[in-house]
């Protein structure tokens, strides 16, 4: 029943997380039902009735060993099953990608910066959007997560993605969205009176749509600031989108 309530998953590693969620859901669900069934049976069978005396026993070593070893084994197996997904999502270097965004959280906004045509941050052709992120579908996106004041948490429910943004640190995260659409990006860590409602939108475009969006929004407006970088910039997103379109974004992994 609980698992019906998971929002739709639209990221590659979200499948691993959902699989583990369902596994634990069934293990704990069945355990709970068994425990409650046994308990209810005992409550009915052994209710106080006249003329019956309770069984005089102090325990049973075999049983103790069984109910220590069996849960231990289940939990150890669960640990081993959980480890690869954790390793892939958080521990290993993210899959290589040339699509890098800088996200700096502040009270109470997400500032999403595109590196512009030169592919470098901190140059005049950078383009910063407020509470809005546009990415192509089937493309590994690196997010360099920072905060300029308190701790925030970058949470995309449909991507099964969450990472705190910590002031003084830059934490690189990644995702690969598998379905175009518009997804909410709430802050999941209490960050002050405006915490509730601190949210952005992530627009996942098809390769062509992204190309169009990038051409309209990442190039045109930045023109007066850095005319020299303009040519490269105009090409760069195109190349990006083209790669994504022809290979499904998987070529570079």
């Amino acid at each position: 029943m609980l698992d019906w309530w998971l929002p739709e998953n639209v990221s590659t590693y979200g499948r691993d997380i959902d699989w583990l969620f369902h596994l634990i859901y069934w293990i704990t669900g069945i355990t709970a039902i068994l425990v409650f069934a046994v308990m209810l049976a005992f409550l009915v069978m052994y209710r106080d009735r006249p003329g019956r005396r309770a069984r005089y026993t102090h325990g049973n070593t075999t049983l103790e060993i069984v109910w220590t070893v069996v849960p231990s084994l289940i939990l150890v197996i669960l640990t081993f099953l959980s480890a690869p997904a954790w390793s892939r999502i958080k521990m290993q270097a993210p899959p290589a990608s040339d699509f890098v965004l800088d996200v700096t959280a502040k009270q109470f906004n997400w500032q999403v910066t595109y590196p512009g045509g030169d592919g470098k941050f901190g140059t005049p052709d950078d383009k910063t959007l407020l509470d809005e992120m546009h990415v192509p579908v089937n493309k590994v996106v690196h997010v360099k997560l920072k905060s300029q004041d308190v701790i925030h948490s970058f949470f995309v429910p449909q991507f099964r993605m969450k990472q705190d943004a910590v002031p003084g640190r830059e934490i690189t995260q990644w995702f690969e969205a598998s379905k175009p659409g518009k997804y909410e990006l709430p802050c999941a860590e209490l960050c002050g009176f405006g915490h509730s409602g601190m949210k952005g939108w992530i627009y996942v475009h098809t390769a062509d749509d992204y190309k169009k969006w990038a051409a309209e929004n990442l190039t045109a407006e930045a023109a007066p600031a850095a005319p020299a970088a303009e040519e490269k910039k105009a090409e760069e997103p195109k190349k990006d989108a083209a790669t994504a379109a022809t290979t499904g974004g998987k070529a570079k992994r």
Binding site: L2, V35, Y56, H58, K90, D164
Partner: protein
């Protein structure tokens, strides 16, 4: 010594006892039983405040930005509508008060003080004066905490976890003295708790009655012993942490602020290194209480006494190496996440062992569904749900999604309300006759239990569902998020549950006050229980027993021994026949 002689002696002792004045008897008392009552009433009074704050939070979540009934008195500017900053204050103070000023004073303070001397056969605590100080320091901490509601800028609003730098820089919340007083109060409370824990440990090690070996101690004493050790070791970490937080806020230090070379995650490491043992501080005495009540009303020895004691010891050790599971997505090195996942999975095992042994205690018993038994069974059931839901968070990949959602809120409430508070109610119903010498009304007790069980689940079970749906904790208005709007009806449903849960507690208040004033006089041993406190009069006089302390002949759970005439053999009852085989001796 047989039980009737003990009573006779006690009466003599009482007659000869020098009468103390009102102040020394009821206010600045050094008697462990009076201090226990003081902790109990302090905890129950704070429970009212903590509960009302919870209702305010629930109202806002169900019907966002509408006037909360009755709140216009406190919030005249908005006509009773909560602003986001007020909302943050409400949930911060709900958790702070419930954890530090309700559950800790009741479970560790009241039951610890009342039960330790009475159940190990001591006349009082090892350091009665320190014991008195412990209560009054905690009471001062409570007053400091309450005073925060009246300062400009409002009370602390950075969550009970007070993560830095949100809590360490006043501008980030706009709260100034509220957060400072929060720090000072918890610092003070830490000192009070240290006094109490040293006292508990010393008393249990040194002052057990003849024959009361460690493995003849009732399990609740084991649980309080282990809790005291955890308190002694864990609370100083919080105490130093809040001092550092206060210095960052007021003296310009930079422990937690990167611009001055500090590290925000240092706070989380300190807080959770305290915080996870703290979780077990809140649940271990509850496990102990359940382990006392179940054998009495199953008329059967506890199943696996040694397994029960050793699993608590295992929990105490493991509780120090699991704290990182609160920080899987905090930015802590993810390799550590792997290590903490392993330890967290392992700590579920001793809890499982305890649950199976409680079931084993029911097996073949002669179950009497009296009020304390219902609460103990309620505790076991709710703890099973709370324990199992913890496994979701232990698995690091699942925690990425679950962290900071209502699933966590459901989990903690199943453990701390369904667990600790339910066991505390069970403990009050069970020991009330001994504590106050009066019987409580069983009919009201049954109603209170069923009301609490049903409305508790109505309030907290759907939190699993909306948590899985993605609803974040600590948000002011779920309707601000499109992906949460479809499940808003659950928020309304839960709030109705919470209101009814609140009303159910009135039954307890009525029962408590009515029984204190007009309850029937309690006999010495109303439940036919075996442990030592039932061999003292109800209520026990100053110094608990007469000139002779009880001698312990057997383990604490000798029920339905086929060789005994009665279905219970009190610990202090001398073997009937010379050369009779001692049973249950460990």
């Amino acid at each position: 010594m047989s039980a009737p002689t003990a009573t006779a002696h006690a009466h003599t002792a009482h007659d000869h006892h020098h009468e103390l004045g009102f102040v020394r008897t009821y206010i600045f008392s050094t008697d462990h039983k009076m201090i226990a009552r003081q902790f109990l009433f302090m905890g129950l009074a704070m429970l009212i405040l903590g509960g009302l704050l919870a209702l305010v939070v629930r109202w806002q979540l169900a019907w966002p930005e509408t006037a909360v009934p009755g709140m216009s008195v406190f919030l005249p500017d908005t006509g009773g509508i909560l602003e986001p900053s007020t909302y943050n204050m409400a949930f911060t103070m709900h958790a702070t008060i419930m954890i530090f000023f309700v559950i800790m004073p009741i479970l560790a303070g009241a039951f610890g003080n009342f039960l330790i001397p009475l159940m190990i056969g001591a006349r009082d605590m090892a350091f009665p004066l320190l014991n008195m100080l412990s209560f009054w320091v905690t009471a001062v901490a409570g007053v400091i905490m309450l005073s925060g509601f009246f300062v400009e800028g409002g009370h602390a609003a950075a969550g009970w976890t007070s993560y830095a730098p949100l809590a360490s820089v006043p501008q980030y919340t706009g709260v100034n003295w509220g957060q400072n007083l929060w720090c000072i109060s918890l610092f003070t409370m830490g000192i009070g708790s240290m006094m109490g824990s040293i006292n508990y440990i010393t008393t249990i090690i040194n002052m057990r009655a003849p024959g009361m070996s460690l493995f003849r101690m009732p399990l609740v004493i084991w649980s309080l012993f282990i809790t005291a050790i955890l308190l002694l070791l864990a609370l100083p970490i919080l105490t130093s942490g809040v001092a550092m937080l206060l210095f960052d806020r007021t003296l310009g230090t930079s422990w937690f602020h990167p611009s001055g070379g500090g590290e925000p995650l240092l706070w989380q490491h300190l807080f959770w290194y305290f915080g996870h043992p703290e979780v077990y501080i809140l649940i271990l005495p509850a496990m102990g209480i359940a382990s006392e009540i179940l054998p009495v009303f199953a008329r059967k020895p506890i199943f696996g006494y040694h397994a029960m004691a050793f699993s608590m010891i295992a929990i105490a050790f493991l509780s120090w190496i699991v704290y990182g599971h609160h920080m899987f997505v905090s930015g802590m090195n993810p390799s550590l996440g792997m290590a903490f996942m392993v330890s967290t999975m392992i700590i579920a095992v001793p809890s499982a062992i305890k649950t199976f042994n409680w079931l084993g205690t029911l097996w073949g018993g002669r179950l009497q569904f009296k009020v304390p038994m219902l609460w103990a069974l309620g505790f076991v059931s709710m703890f099973v749900i709370g324990g199992l839901s913890g496994i979701f968070m232990a698995s690091t990949p699942v925690d990425i999604y679950i962290q900071d959602t209502y699933f966590i809120v459901a989990h903690i409430h199943y453990v701390v309300f369904g667990g600790s508070i339910m066991a505390a109610f069970g403990g009050v119903y069970y020991w009330f006759p001994k504590m106050f010498g009066k019987l409580m009304n069983p009919a009201l007790g049954h109603l209170h239990f069923w009301g609490t069980l049903v409305f508790f689940n109505m309030t907290f079970f759907p939190m699993h569902i909306i948590g899985v749906g993605g609803q974040m904790r600590r948000i002011y208005n779920p309707m601000q998020y499109e992906f949460l709007q479809h499940q808003q009806h659950w928020n309304v449903f839960m709030t109705y549950g919470a209101i009814l849960l609140g009303f159910a507690q009135l039954l307890f208040a009525i029962n408590l006050i009515w029984s204190l004033a007009a309850g029937r006089k309690a006999p010495m041993n109303p439940w036919n229980a075996t442990t030592l406190e039932w061999s003292a009069p109800s209520p026990p006089p100053h110094l608990n027993w007469g000139p002779t302390l009880p001698t312990v002949y057997r383990g604490p759970y000798e029920y339905s021994d086929p060789e005994a005439a009665d279905d219970f053999l009190p610990q202090a009852q001398a073997p009937a026949r010379a050369g009779a085989r001692p049973r249950g001796a460990h």
